[in-house]
Subunit: 139 residues, 2 copies
Amino acid sequence: MRYLHTMVRVQDLERALHFFCELLGLEELRRRDSENGRFTLVFLAAPGQPEAQIELTHNWDPEALTSGRNFGHLAYEVEDIYTCCARLRAGGVTINRPPRDGRMAFVRSPDGISIEVLQAGDPLPPSEPWASMPNTGSW
Amino acid sequence: MRYLHTMVRVQDLERALHFFCELLGLEELRRRDSENGRFTLVFLAAPGQPEAQIELTHNWDPEALTSGRNFGHLAYEVEDIYTCCARLRAGGVTINRPPRDGRMAFVRSPDGISIEVLQAGDPLPPSEPWASMPNTGSW
């Protein structure tokens, strides 16, 4: 057997793509519009890692995208967690759990999907503004 | 950047491991108990695919693991969708969306996480008891 993807629903496709691609750094692999089903599917992955995709499902008819507790988060490792968090923050994303330890951060997608960002390899030395930044909300 | 895992919370760890490993076919890669945090983490992956893990988080203190709508499902491709669904069914799992088309099925984990099972390659020829089995519940 083989893992294909984790599917998440998104209310505003352009806003979700801005978050996952421009700010977080994933790439769009393929897209499918269904006129009959009134939905659009967009498959994303980290560059060079097509074996671990996420599928964005955008239903054209609006619905409330509630968060539950059984699903926790998606986790990605990055080369420089400070650069990643600075890009997210500049893009208007709240850093719910700032990388005070140079190792781990949490943010949420526009639809409330929790994303864990982890520093690849050893933690970076503590650095401002992150080292003294408090938590915001939940993740 | 690199995808690491999708985290899901589980109420009963043994029951969740029975579902994900014995019935679905994932393998346990590593496990960590935290006495201080009162949780256990178990990392699973499809055989030979450690780059796409799921992390089971078992908090020792019970909590209600509600389902939301923003998270959809985890998708896995299998060599024989009928064999996979027969094993799940024999293990007491409801096949919410039976593989009537020899191509796609949906089930839920004990904690309500929706799992999409897809036939690798071309669909299989329709086969009973699946071809005439109705949907059950939602997924």
